[in-house]
Amino acid sequence: MDVNAILDESLKAFSRPVASKAAQFILMLSVIDRTILPRQVIFSNGRGQLKLAVAERKARRLDDAGQSVADSPSDLVQRMTRFCLEADALKHEIRPAKPPSSPPGHGIAELVNAQQPASVTPAGPVGEPHSDGFRFDERGWPLAIPDASSAKSLVSAWLVYLWMQSWLKRHDEMLGDSVLMVTTEGQRSRELAFRFSPKATQIMSLGSAELGRLMAAWRVEGTPRQAQQPNGGKTMGMSGA
């Protein structure tokens, strides 16, 4: 089984109702990022179609007459977002196309990072201003990704996000629900950091010099929860020595 197949299977498995809209958006990005040769990609959402001219991992929108439209990244991603939010089940078809005469369009990082908060969440801005790493809102919708990220990386980050949300929901009373940092060791010198909060999740790769800064910025705030007697309630937090 190749890597794309693993990721595709995981995407299907996690296309559950709560995350399905985000899954559809990520699937669109994934199709764009895997397309090198010029292709026409036609997405159907059960209500309508969105046609894209894709080449060299970059996409442009096509109008009904099949002509390339010079949308800005924010315009295009807004259309994609609306298309996914309206979708019952997203399907796509890929057709051969002539090499584009116009500039190639927008890559997935450019698209994700061009999102306006209001177009993602009608209720208003979510999370923090753009910063490094992968950032998802509470629905798993990608809000920001590092420049030059591949769809493979995005899907991996998204799967981790979904798993972690599920894990934290089951264990947050024991461990707290705000910040998680992970380090690796041995041959891998990379250090990874997560920040989970009710509104947004961030996943980053760091150098050790950045660690102190990040920890200061992510310091858990809030009133310590009151621990209860062992048989006195649902709180399982340790009450300390």
Partner: protein, 137 residues
């Protein structure tokens, strides 16, 4: 193997951690907590939940994907490999360090300290004391 018991080794190692609250030793294969020293007694239910949560965190294939996000090559074999060596959890009251053992890769230790404990010191002290703890197993 050391003459010291695992419980005593955990107790001794926890003394080196400023504001250390608990230290435990876990078998990742079965999810069983083999030993725990805590500054105060905890209900068994809590210990069971902690052991299963930690086992899940170390073993979940989808969580291991995180290590591949920044890797250029991702293969099925990579996904099957062991995941993280160390995991630090910052909670509202406590910091928890989960560390996979060196001598026994299917074992892990858990250290809980108050959140005021500098995480670097927690990490350093646990790294220093791990060989002694492992000797008792």
């Amino acid at each position: 193997m050391s003459d010291m018991t695992l419980h005593a080794a955990l107790q001794q190692s926890l003394r080196t951690v400023p504001d250390g609250v608990a230290a435990g030793y876990l078998d990742l294969t079965t999810g069983a907590l083999l030993s725990l020293f805590a500054a105060e007694q905890r209900p068994q239910e809590f210990l069971n939940v902690m052991a299963s949560a930690v086992t899940e965190l170390f073993e979940a294939p989808l969580f291991k994907m995180i290590d591949k996000i920044w890797s250029d090559q991702l293969t099925e074999a990579d996904l099957a490999k062991d995941g993280f060596g160390e995991i630090l959890l910052f909670g509202k009251e406590y910091t928890t360090l989960l560390k996979r053992c060196h001598k026994h890769e299917r074992h892990a230790v858990i250290y809980v300290s108050r959140k005021e404990t500098p995480p670097g010191i927690l990490l350093m002290e646990v790294r220093k004391s791990l060989p002694k703890v492992e000797e008792t197993v």
